[in-house]
C-alpha cells in the first residue's frame, strides 16, 4: 500500500504518472482509475489569457496526503497518487492528476471521485485568471461545495 502526493511548478506528464501506477499495481491490482484535470482553452472564456495557481507550501501536501489516507481507510485501495500543478499554466496543461489502483473497480472509482471532490474544498490552492491585464481570483463554486458534501452522508459511497 503506497501513497504518493506532490506539488509541482513543472508540466505534469500523465503518461509517466500512469505508467508508474501501472508498474506498482502489476499482479495485485485488477483496476486502475485515473482522473486528469486540464486547463481549457482560454479563448472559450471572455478575454482570459493566463491562469495561475497559488498554494500554501507544506499544508498543500499535508492536506492531499490526508485525503489519500482517508480514501485508503474508506475503500479497499492499494495505491493512491495525487499530483497538483501550481504557478502559471498554459491551455492544455495538466492541473491535477489522481490515480488509484485497487483489486476491484468500484473502490477505485469511488476513491478517485472522493479525492477530487474533497480537494476542491479542503486543499489550500487558489486559482486566478488574467483578463485585460488584470488578475482575478476565482470564486469557489456552489457545485464544488455540494459535490464535496455528499461524502459526509452516513452511507458514504458514491452510488
Amino acid at each position: 500500500m503506497t501513497i504518493s502526493v506532490s506539488v509541482s511548478t513543472q508540466v505534469l506528464d500523465i503518461q509517466q504518472l500512469s505508467a508508474a501506477l501501472q508498474t506498482a499495481s502489476l499482479g495485485k491490482c485488477g483496476a486502475l482509475v485515473t482522473f486528469t484535470g486540464l486547463v481549457r482553452d482560454f479563448s472559450t472564456l471572455s478575454n482570459v489569457d493566463a491562469l495561475s495557481l497559488e498554494h500554501y507550501p507544506g499544508m498543500t501536501e499535508r492536506a492531499m496526503a490526508a485525503l489519500a489516507e482517508q480514501a485508503k481507510d474508506r475503500w479497499a485501495v492499494e495505491h493512491v497518487v495525487v499530483c497538483h500543478r501550481v504557478g502559471e499554466m498554459q491551455s492544455g496543461d495538466v492541473i491535477v492528476f489522481v490515480g488509484i489502483a485497487s483489486a476491484h473497480r468500484a473502490a477505485a472509482f469511488d476513491a478517485a471521485q472522493f479525492i477530487m471532490d474533497q480537494l476542491k474544498t479542503c486543499v489550500p490552492l487558489w486559482k486566478k485568471e488574467r483578463s485585460n491585464g488584470q488578475w482575478h481570483w476565482t470564486a469557489q463554486k456552489d457545485s464544488d461545495r455540494s459535490q464535496a458534501a455528499r461524502w459526509s452522508a452516513p452511507s458514504g459511497n458514491g452510488d
Binding site: G37, L53, E54, H55, Y56, G58, M59, R62, A63, H84, I95, V96, M116, L119, K120, T121, C122, V123, P124, L125, W126, K127, K128, W137, T138, A139, Q140, D144
Partner: protein, 81 residues
Amino acid sequence: MIKVLFFAQLKDVLGTGQLEIDEPINDVAALRRTLQARGELWSEYLSAQRALVAVNQTIAHEDTRIGPNDEVAFFPPVTGG
C-alpha cells in the same frame, strides 16, 4: 511569537503575506479579533464568513487553541483542482 500567514486574495488585499504577533493569544477567535482591529479591510476580509483558518497547517475552528511558535494561516475558500 505567533507566525501569521495570508494567502491569495487576502494577501493581495491586506498587502502582506506574513506577520508576527507577540501578544499572548489563546485561540483562533482571539487572533481573528486582534487582526480585525487593524482596520476596515482587515475587519471585512478576516471575518469568519470570509476567511478560513489553519493552525500548524491543519484546518482549524474558532475555538482551536493557539500557542507560542504556532503557524496560523488565513485564506479564502479554496479553488484548486
